[in-house]
């Protein structure tokens, strides 16, 4: 197995506020990797540093064998085509229909024909469990669950090696959330993508996540599969994993 993402000694400061103080983690190819932690522990910030929306104040981040510190413009652009990102609230482009949302990157970065593009759009919609007719709708016409699915379809448009999901099941009803988990598992089987997922959802953590890191006290307090993590005696891990709600998984 090869390492897809490696964070070494990441330090993040906003003014005087220290968010991360030496975060280390690594993500292997083909796994579903969870980033956990209480709210405010900097999970989203860490993910934003992986996808070059933010730069860490210190430390080294590398993604798909590219070191992000001082990355050149062309390398950065090339890297951006190899991943897909699902934002927490979808972030679909509101003036465009769902189909156009999926199409933008294909149109920009490839020279495939319109017919081929349409076929790809339909196959992506199908993959995430949406009817082809949804393609003609605008994001404002979609329900919360459909927005997430459509945004996932967009994230898959460029056949990414790496998928970043920011709280994919938050705001979904319990059944919708479990279906979404299934979908992520299926996609991993089907496309062999590596998935990095920020989540609070205990069901997702116990059922689909292979390995995870737990952020607390500005660093990673536990990393590994669920068994490794449960061995940690950090107060946050104790509180989060060893309570009456997690009994059913044990």
């Amino acid at each position: 197995m090869s390492t897809v993402i490696k964070a070494e000694g990441i330090v993040t400061r906003f003014g005087n506020r220290v968010i991360h103080d030496g975060v280390n983690l690594h993500v292997e190819r083909g796994e579903i990797y969870g980033i956990l932690g209480e709210s405010g522990s900097g999970k989203s910030v860490l993910m934003k540093e992986m996808i070059m929306l933010l730069e860490p104040s210190a430390g080294k981040m590398s993604v798909l064998n590219q070191t992000l510190n001082n990355i050149g413009f062309d390398e950065a652009q090339a890297l951006r085509r190899k991943w897909g990102v699902l934002f927490q609230f979808g972030a679909l482009f509101s003036p465009l229909t769902v189909a156009e949302n999926i199409e933008v990157q294909l149109k920009e970065y490839t020279d495939i024909t319109k017919k081929m593009r349409n076929e790809l759009i339909n196959s992506k919609l199908n993959m995430v469990g949406l009817e082809p007719s949804v393609g003609a709708l605008y994001p404002s016409e979609l329900s919360g669950g459909m927005i997430k699915r459509a945004a996932l379809a967009r994230a898959l448009a460029m056949e990414p090696e790496l998928l970043f999901l920011d709280e994919p099941t938050s705001g979904l009803d319990p059944i919708g959330a479990r279906n979404f988990d299934e979908l992520i598992l299926e996609l991993r089987e089907l496309l062999g993508v590596t998935v990095v997922i920020i989540t609070h959802d205990l069901d997702s953590i116990f059922n689909i996540v292979d390995r995870m890191s737990v952020l607390a006290d500005k660093r990673v307090v536990a990393e590994g599969n669920i068994k490794n993590v449960l061995q940690s005696e950090h107060p946050f891990v104790e509180e989060f994993f060893k309570n009456k709600y997690t009994q059913k998984y044990m």
């Binding site: 991943w83 934002f87 972030a91 482009f93 920009e108």
Partner: protein
């Protein structure tokens, strides 16, 4: 009639106080007034059994007055239900903890904070300009990277769609200028000089200025609101992760479109302004259109028109850059869009006026 929330039954040694009715948020104010009048010279027995309804506001009031009575006299509480006790315990526990009061800032702190904010804002704007210029020159070198479709879309929206309002504003300004100066010129019998006054002031100063101000209010604010909304919905972050640099995809098309559309609008405003002056001259001073145009040919040198026109791209750049910059500054709350849109319009109108003054100085120094 006022509702009674308290009943008294006093004898020599003690006062029996009974709470009645609804001890809820709606009635606490009245209850408090009645409680304040309770005499505390004897032992109090407080009976809660007649309370029909209560909520946390009622319980908090009870806690407060219980503590007050305790300080001055003996008190015994009877007749409370399990539910009341549970809420009492819950609220008692919370109210014992330290009350959070936000710290008030002194005036010096506020001045300091605002100064730092203005300084940081300026630094951010310089950073923005740096990005913008680097993208600007990159696209000049690589014209393939210009987003033609978006640029044309914005020319249509900020230029073509503004023709009516710009034309009307300029027409009215020309009309007013001619009317006002007409009154003065008539006194000296220098009627025909109205043409000089109107044509030179419109082409050199007023045409560009009116157009820029109307467009700053119309399109500058729209740019801020559009980009700001995209910021809130994370659409800009999404674009970035897809490799769509917002400077190339959002800012530059707007800047280019504005720099093309504004000079064209100024040209139109010049025509409409002079036409306004022409109409006023005819009505007030009886100068015929033919006379007006003959005189216009004599006095309006091309340089006046060109000097006015040269301001166009500069004003356009200011409006589009400030509008986009403020949009990108919007943070993740909805109030921020309003604040930044206001700031965008105020800043761009001010900058337009300031740069107009600068142009005046430069033109005068160069004796143009």
């Amino acid at each position: 009639m006022k509702k009674q929330f308290l009943g008294y039954e006093a004898d020599q040694h003690q006062l029996k106080l009974s709470s009645k009715g609804e001890w809820t948020l709606q009635s606490v104010r009245q209850i408090e007034k009645q409680l304040a009048k309770v005499p505390c010279d004897k032992k109090i027995i407080w009976d809660l059994s007649e309370i029909e309804q209560f909520d946390s506001a009622g319980v908090l009031l009870f806690i407060e007055y219980l503590a007050r009575f305790k300080k001055v006299t003996d008190i015994e509480v009877i007749g409370y239900t399990e539910k009341q006790k549970a809420m009492y315990d819950l609220l008692k526990e919370k109210s014992l903890k330290e009350v959070f009061t936000p710290q008030k800032q002194t005036i010096l702190e506020r001045i300091g904070q605002n100064t730092v904010e203005v300084y940081n804002d300026f630094k951010d704007f310089v950073t923005f300009l740096g990005h913008l210029f680097s993208a600007f020159f990159h696209t000049l070198m690589h014209p393939v990277d210009i987003r033609y479709k978006e640029t044309i879309y914005h020319i249509h929206r900020s230029g073509f769609n503004a023709l009516i309002i710009v034309g009307l504003s300029a027409f009215l300004v020309g009309l007013v200028i001619a009317y006002q100066s007409g009154v003065q010129l008539e006194k000296f019998g220098a009627n025909l000089f109205i043409v000089d006054a109107v044509s030179i002031s419109i082409t050199r100063e007023l045409g560009p200025m009116i157009t820029a101000i109307v467009i700053a209010g119309r399109s500058g604010s729209a740019y801020t609101a559009e980009i700001g909304a995209m910021k809130i919905t994370e659409e800009i972050s999404a674009m970035r992760t897809m490799g769509f640099d917002p400077y190339y995809f959002l800012v530059l098309p707007r800047v280019f479109a504005m720099m093309i559309a504004l000079p064209l609008l100024i040209f139109f405003a010049d025509i409409m302004g002079i036409f306004g002056g022409m109409v006023a001259s005819k009505m007030q001073l009886g100068i015929s259109m033919g006379q007006f145009i003959d005189r216009l040919n004599e006095v309006l040198e091309v340089k006046h028109y060109l000097l006015g026109m040269m301001k166009g791209p500069v004003f356009a750049f200011l409006i589009a850059a400030v509008g986009s910059y403020r949009g990108l500054q919007v943070s993740e709350n909805t109030e921020s869009i309003g604040l930044h849109t206001t700031a965008s319009v105020v800043n761009s109108i001010f900058l337009v006026i300031a740069f107009d003054a600068l142009f005046s100085v430069i033109y005068t120094e160069l004796e143009l």
